[in-house]
């Protein structure tokens, strides 16, 4: 092996192990934050006995699930019943691979006794795998998560699981369209699907939340539906379906669904931060775009963590703010509002970008102005009950 390949393998392995461990700890903290945050919003204490402020509660829960007996109900389809938790666990933990989480580190060149020389030319990108297909990879792999839920629902041979499974299949595929259509406008502005290029494009111009506000709103709503979170948590609506698709699961297999759900939430938070809030970009300074250094890497990592953490909190905040949708309202929102708005928005952005380049005016101010108007119009339209039957009925009453 040449020093170059050894250096690459070393960097890749270290990145994978470190990022995976940090990600698992972040998932544990997310479950802790969910329970403590929910408790805070409901004016109670939440878990506070295990470790300082209950921080070790997720560890205790994980250990408990390891030691519990797994149940195999009578009529389950055994291979699929076993495959389903893996099918939701694996995709949800692979998708973060393409999200860049910090500014690059400088390369290295050193020699170890016995192992020989390790080199890495150029900056080391702070992303597990800087794939040229970038975001397409996330769209492709996160679609696989629907299989885990549908298989779990079907193979459990329980009525609650079955209902949860088919509901979630319809919900997830409906909102996947809006999710896919909303990122096309990001591609138009960045001209690239690689996420590090999307971050670079935002550093050159403005954060896309300003330039593409409507796309951000569409993406945010779809992200909630894709991760099965309130107000779109119909697959596991506990008041109707016990816990939906994983009713029959226990012990470690249940734990895996749990981990997969929070991993999906974290990935979506990180993706929202990357696509619309500049990723690891620190606002109001160009210092972070300088040559690679450890200080820049640490500072941008902190910026990325802050943005992701905010959206994680936002998920919990929304959960205790909005009531659950009814299934027909959910499908109506997805098909009759999100889809036409997304298609129309792509057309508008396409025309504006082409027109601005033709006339030769600066793109960013035009887009920001357009989006202020469009977002205000959209929110006004939704609120006036012009698009949603529920609001219309409410006004009539």
């Amino acid at each position: 092996m040449t020093p170059d390949i050894k250096g690459f393998l070393l960097a890749a392995t270290v990145k994978i192990v470190v990022v995976f461990s940090v990600w698992m700890i972040a998932i544990m903290l997310a479950t802790w934050l969910e329970r403590r945050g929910s408790a805070f919003m409901q004016d109670r204490l939440g878990p506070n006995r295990v470790g300082p402020a209950g921080l070790l509660q997720p560890v205790a829960d994980g250990l408990k699930n390891f030691l519990k007996e797994e149940t195999w109900p009578k009529w389950v389809d055994q291979p699929l019943f076993l495959l389903a938790p893996l099918m939701s666990f694996i995709p949800s933990l692979i998708t973060f691979a393409v999200i860049p989480f910090a500014a690059p580190l400088p390369g290295f060149d050193f020699t170890l006794p016995l192992l020989g020389r390790f080199t890495y030319q150029g900056p080391i990108p702070m992303v597990v795998a800087d794939l040229p297909i970038g975001l397409l990879f996330i769209l492709a792999i996160s679609s696989l998560a629907v299989y885990g839920i549908v298989l779990a629902g079907w193979s459990s041979a329980s009525k609650y699981s079955m209902l949860g499974g088919i509901r979630s299949s319809a919900q997830m595929i409906s909102y996947e369209i809006a999710l896919g259509l909303s990122v096309i406008t990001v591609f138009i502005l960045s001209g690239n699907v690689t996420l590090s290029e999307v971050v670079a494009a935002q550093q050159r111009t403005v954060w896309f939340v300003l330039a593409l506000t409507v796309a951000f709103v569409l993406f945010l709503v779809s992200a909630f539906a894709e991760t099965n979170r309130l107000p779109f948590d119909l697959p596991e609506a506990e008041a109707e379906l016990v816990t939906g698709y994983h009713t029959e699961y226990s012990a470690m297999k249940f734990s895996m669904f749990y981990v997969a759900e929070y991993a999906a939430i974290l990935t979506m938070s990180a993706l929202i931060a990357t696509l619309f809030f500049g990723g690891w970009d620190i606002p109001f300074t160009r210092w972070d775009e300088g040559p690679p250094s450890v200080a820049r890497c640490a500072a941008t990592l902190l910026a990325f963590g802050t943005k992701t953490g905010f959206f994680l909190l936002f998920y919990i905040w929304v959960r205790w703010t909005l009531p659950r949708f009814r299934f027909d309202q959910l499908m109506e929102l997805g098909w009759k509002v999100m889809l036409p708005v997304a298609l129309g928005y792509i057309t508008v952005i396409g025309l504006v970008v082409w027109g601005a380049e033709r006339v030769g005016v600066a793109l960013a101010p035009v887009l920001i102005g357009l989006n202020l108007v469009a977002t205000a119009g959209l929110l006004w339209g939704l609120d006036r009950g012009r698009l949603l039957a529920g609001a219309r009925a409410r006004r009539a009453a």
Binding site: A12, T13, I16, V17, F20, F66, L67, E69, E70, T71, P73, K74, W75, L86, F89, I90, L93, I94, A97, V128, A129, D130, L131, P132, L136, A157, S158, K159, Y160, M162, I166, A170, I173, S174, E176, I177, I184, T185, F187, I188, G191, N192, V193, V242, E248, A251, M252, S255, M256, F327, E332, W335, K336, L339, P340, L343, I346, G350, L351, W354
Partner: protein
Amino acid sequence: MMREYLSLVLLAVFVIVNGVGMILISHLILPPRPTPVKQTPYESGMPPIGTVRERFSVKFYLVAMLFIVFDIETVFLIPWGVAFRQLGLFGLVEMLVFIVILLVGYAYAWKRGALEWD
């Protein structure tokens, strides 16, 4: 360029080994000891009535079919969006025609009640 896929494969192997290992270790620590009551599907404590393998609303199939149509549209729009600046006016007009054709189908589906849930 292919190197990046190598790190992805490494990660995938790592995650799969982790997932399978977790299930396996948990299974080895305490193998299932089934009893007839433990094996009953959960139905809020009642003995289960009938089977699960029954018919469900055809609406769900309809949604799946509509999804395929619009997802393929998304797939076509992605390369167009990426290459938008290079394509210029031609690409813009082509895609507008494409979107209009799809809107006709969408309007038809809406009109026929494919998007209604009652």
